[in-house]
Amino acid sequence: MTEAFNLAEHVLAAGAATPDKLALAVVGPSRAERWSYARLIAAVRGTATGLLHRGLRPGDRVLLRIGNEPAFPVSYLACIAAGIVPVPTSALLTEAEITRIARNIVPALTIAGDGIALPDPSGDILPVADLAAMANVILRRNTMTTGLYDHGYLIAREHLADHDPNSGLPRQRLWRIRAGRVVTATGALERPLSFAGNDVPGVMLASAVRDYIVDYGVAPGRRIAVVTNNDDAYRTALAALDAGLEVPVVIDARPTADGPLPQAVRARGVRVATGSAVAGVLGKKAVNGFKFCDQQGAGDPLGVVNCDVIAMSGGWSPVVHLWSHCGGKLKWDEARAMFAPDPARPPTGADGRGNVLAVGAAAGDLAVAELTDAAAEQPVMPVWVMPARASRKARFKMWLDYQNDVKVSDVELAGREGYASVEHAKRYTTLGMATDQGKVSNINGLAILSDALGQPIAATGTTTFRPPYTPLTLGTIAADARGEVFLPLRKTPMHEWHESHGAHWEPVGLWRRPYAYPRGAEGVSDAVAREIRAVRGGVGTLDASTLGKIIVKGPDAGRFLDMMYTNMMSTLPVGKCRYGLMCSENGFLVDDGVVARLSEDTWLCHTTTGGADRIHGHMEDWLQCEWWDWQVYTANITEQYAQIAVAGPKARAVLEKLGGMDVSAGTLPFMGWAEGELAGIPVRVYRISFSGELSFEIATPANRGLELWEKIQQAGADLGITPYGTEAMHIMRAEKGFIMIGDETDGTVIPQDLSLHWAISKKKTDFIGKRAQERSFMASPDRWRLVGLESLDGRVLPDGAYAVAEGVNPNGQRNTQGRVTSTYLSPTLNAPIAMGLVLHGPERMGEVLEFPVTGDTFRARIVDPVFYDKEGTKANG
């Protein structure tokens, strides 16, 4: 009892220190429950107090007649806390057996679980249901713990409406539990016996036969023969007899069977054939009977038994899955022929101490005999092959793993083939894989392998027990992530307007952006072309709200941005904007955008749509981990603003019509910004252009975004204002030779490759990526660099196509010298346009490259990447 006292003290003392933490989960094959430490202490103390209030005194004995359910450990700990002696007993004991035990221990009280045999006379009884009604004890029925992970993290599955799937309720619920300590009362699983034909329908585990009869009132057959190597299966014989079924024989592999259970069966007139075995099953689709033989022999039949069910028991294996999932070690118990948890090597929690306690059958104490003084059953006799010297042919019919169709012959072959490691043998044979996870097949398979390898079972060891204990449906894991809330869709303030105006959506990260706005029967590509022509010839609007917006402020903000960007941001005058590039430490271009200086110590950095969170994290990473003493604050305010690009030669006219701000070229020049009001709505207007046209990007508080958008549409109506989508934006930027992060860059491209030297400061002593860009490979003149590509035959080049060079590489593949990074049909030029990265590209203007694709070859001339408005005059309207 010393160990048990330590457990109670440990739980209660640890709990007092951290009352809010989740303390304990009690798990079983079909139930799970959890408490915080505070609740656990209250539950145990409350129950203990309740027991004392019932008149119990320290030293009294309380008989626990409780199955594998949470009430078991609670009662156990409560008794210990109260100084009462708990006597746990196996729920499987019959009334006669428990009566005899009760006579020995003289319990002052019996705590009684549902449907569990009680001693006669029963004495003082406390039903488990009353225990559950006590405060702080929670029973969660129909719940299975499927896995135990690091730091006491348990996953459990609760059945809610599997019995009524159309009830509108979730069928199952997944619980995620953080437990300080876990008590596993997971019981034991019965093993099959390996005899020829043990897969014929009607061959069942003895415990399953018993469960059908006792729990469900179902007779699996009329004549039930029992085959066993242990005493427990005799209970099945008794249960069958009690139910009025015939038991023609008990085949017991052991040389003798003289314990109380076999004697009780003999007393009912059933023949017990010791030292016997099943030589073969009669029947293919159903059991008609079997031939029996001598267990120590080779299978020569001694006779035939007629029956329609064979109830077999090869002994019991503690359910050690939860114990093992997180590293608890097992010990081979030769005498009892089982792997049981090694209490000296439990799974450990964050504090390095064991966080799982296996109790009862799960700990290997199948009958809890040590505590109950139950008459010891006769020992099991390991029987791994039945009969012991079965023929090779018979071994082809002896199933070990029914789920994966693995037989004795398969494992023996693995041994002969040299699969000495149990993990290799598992993969060679599939023994114990997938849903089995060692439940039915494990011990028998290990024993066969050990025999084939000529080594003891302990030397072979077990395979790894992996969660889940039994399969979980994906639906249970996915839970709420289905239908409308499968993914969090990010919507801009103008989302519903786009939707009601026929937007064809493009997913950009979790955002949905209008790709184009087809009208009526118009095709998407036609819509794109129309939108581009509208912008180039008049005015259009783009919802640019998704662009990242990060405020950077502080005395060191300029210095910080000079490190973040390749170009100089500290010198940017207040009121001005500058396009900037950001590189990783390895020199590769990772993001770009326009930076506006809002005040002496405040900058606003625009990022790409996908870059907002990443770049904000990148900034904070450097600020918090490297330059923690720099005085800079950042804030990602992407969603504070709606942002609308108004682009095209008539853009200024639209803004002037809205009124409220001077947006003339003199007051608001290219790459300038100004604050004010448009149509009475507060705005900040940036004169920046990604289309090459005269363009204003207008930011307004998000709640005013839709209002401003609609006012712009109204104001521009007679100018033919046209909302345009991301594809029009992409094509217009490509017409201008502007790069796009993710198209012209792929994580291996440096700004120099894109001829962006003008945006890389030569004055700065450092910026992120500078050192990397000076390394020989980055500085090499032989890198692929950005050029324009002009299709020779008017066809649009295939995106991503490679330009081939002379010769082949060592793998026999054609050498390459470039690839297409952006390719479109330009509605403006009515011709294909493309950009690509080409070896020595800018030095090879006019050369023709070949882009072979399956069954075809495209040819293109190297040209300047700026296809439209090379002088850049359009941006000024």
Partner: protein
């Protein structure tokens, strides 16, 4: 018979303003408290006078939630109080959505979505966590809970809250 009404009402709250404050809270705490009209909350807590609410977001970040009409005044009060101090005061009133979860069992609704032991949260506790797949912050408000998230995922948050409050999905043991 189980109660087959929704576990909670999910109501979007409008009319609130929000101001983000980043500063050295040790050095500038008194100035901020004076301008905000609320004491500086301890880590993971908030302070409130029923109208204004000041939450601890990180060791150098606070969030002031207040009636939308009070934002301009509070902004200028804070900027004045923090003049000469390295600090960031930013109007973020439009950046988030706010929902109140009230009714029978609001804790059950949140427990399904957020990895938080709500019972262990003190009455003035503020928890930044996640709701299903999105970032959120939550705290006790009135008889229920208040939860905030970014505005772009307003529909998503409403969707998961409503689903988690579906009738018959109480978490009590059966």
């Amino acid at each position: 018979m189980a109660d087959m009404t929704p576990l909670a009402s999910i109501n979007q709250v409008s009319g609130l303003g929000m101001i983000l404050i980043r500063a050295d809270l040790t050095r500038a705490g008194d100035a901020i408290a004076g301008a905000a009209g609320l004491a500086i909350p301890r880590p993971n807590r908030f302070t409130s006078d029923g109208s204004r609410w000041l939450g601890w977001m990180s060791p150098d970040e606070l969030l002031l939630v207040l009636p939308h009409g009070d934002v301009p005044g509070a902004l200028s009060d804070l900027l004045d109080a923090l003049a000469g101090e390295h600090a960031l005061v930013q109007d973020v009133s439009d950046m988030r959505c706010v929902f109140d979860v009230t009714g029978r069992k609001p804790e059950h609704v949140l427990a399904k979505l957020c990895p938080v032991e709500l019972g262990a949260l003190p009455p003035d506790g503020l928890r930044r966590t996640r709701a299903a797949q999105i970032a959120c912050g939550l705290w006790r408000h009135g008889d229920g809970w208040r939860i905030i998230a970014f505005r772009a995922v307003t529909d998503y948050l409403r969707g998961v809250l409503t689903a988690a409050a579906a009738p018959g999905t109480d978490l009590d043991p059966r």
